[in-house]
């Protein structure tokens, strides 16, 4: 089976899901920044009392906010979040996730259970890992240095 078929056939649940960092609308941006740094993730999701997403705050928005004035780090994250986000169901095919990310220029997607509950995040990184897993020998067998030539002749 080829990669293309697998992308069309396999569900989003095959992708590596990242933990969703959920914050309350009243939490400060500084807290969002600390959480993103701690979890090594470029995005937090602001949720209401029932856990439904209201918006997201990303590294890109952080740059805009700092340029506008770093004192804004103390303001509530809800006043700086973007109210657009992409969602995808666990059972949707991976091809759909690719299309949503591409069409909406998104880096992250919120992954939903069939009852609409958010279970995690996936995105560009998850997809790169999926492709790498598809070619374990070709991709993972690569060396990570950037040398064009060997230092010594082989066997010398």
């Amino acid at each position: 089976m080829g990669l293309r078929q697998d992308i069309l056939r396999e569900p989003v649940s095959e992708l590596v899901l990242r933990e969703l960092i959920a914050l309350k609308p009243g939490d400060t941006v500084r807290r969002a920044v600390a959480k993103m740094r701690e979890k090594k993730l470029g995005c937090v999701v602001v949720v209401d009392a029932d856990g439904r997403p209201l918006g997201k705050f990303t590294e890109r928005l952080l740059i805009k906010l700092l340029l506008a004035g770093p004192q804004r780090l103390e303001e509530p994250v809800a006043s700086h979040m973007a109210a657009v986000w992409g969602t995808i169901k666990l059972t949707d095919p991976i091809a759909k996730a690719i299309r949503v990310m591409q069409d909406k220029s998104l880096r992250f997607l919120i992954v939903l259970e069939s009852d609409g509950r958010a279970v995690g995040l996936t995105g560009q990184r998850g997809l790169m890992e999926y492709i790498a897993d598809h070619f374990p020998r070709a991709v993972k067998g690569q060396t990570m240095d950037s040398k064009l030539y060997m230092d010594q002749r082989e066997g010398a």
């Binding site: 293309r4 805009k64 700092l66 880096r107 790169m128 070619f135 991709v139």
Partner: protein, 167 residues
């Protein structure tokens, strides 16, 4: 072509070294392309660059205006480092007022992992998926910066494969 039956050679008998060679098989065109093509199948330009002496504020303004997640820090045509959104999050955010007029070279990621323009896509995917680098600079044989590959460009290449076949 039907495969010839294999048998162990008699001692001293010549054995064709390729007799056990099965050429690799690919599931489809996308797979073949990712494994055998050159990294040039992806779009690897334009490159957003900045000199190492530029201030952190200038760099962030440029990222915001261009809508890019990452700048290549270059002196002439040579790559000195990479300055990304993640560097802003990890190294700049808490002390922005103190750091904004410092040169970007103080907070950039130095000595980033790169690939050469002769590499296969698999090599770049390895750095992204296993190494965890979002953006991989691409160098020519004489170590000049000639491109950059990020996940968005990989994904649009894959998407193009689907569009081509459904069109």
């Amino acid at each position: 072509m039907p495969k010839r039956p294999r048998r162990d050679p008699e001692p001293g008998e010549f054995e064709d070294p390729l007799s056990n060679y099965d050429p690799p098989e690919y599931g489809d065109d996308l797979e073949r392309s990712l494994l055998t093509d050159n990294i040039g199948v992806f779009r690897t330009t334009p490159i957003a660059t900045i000199p190492p002496s530029a201030t952190i504020h200038t760099a962030m303004k440029m990222m915001d205006e261009l809508g890019v997640a990452c700048l290549m820090v270059v002196a002439g045509e040579h790559l000195m480092g990479v300055f990304s959104e993640r560097d802003v999050l990890n190294r700049v955010a808490d002390d922005y007022d103190k750091l904004r007029d410092r040169p970007v070279s103080e907070v950039m990621t130095v000595d980033p992992s790169c690939v050469h323009d002769t590499a296969s896509p698999a090599k770049a995917l390895n750095l992204m998926a296993v190494g965890g680098f979002r953006h991989v600079p691409i160098l020519s044989a004489d170590e000049k910066l000639v491109g950059v590959l990020g996940p968005r460009r990989v994904i649009s290449y894959i998407q193009k494969h689907f569009d081509k076949e459904t069109a």
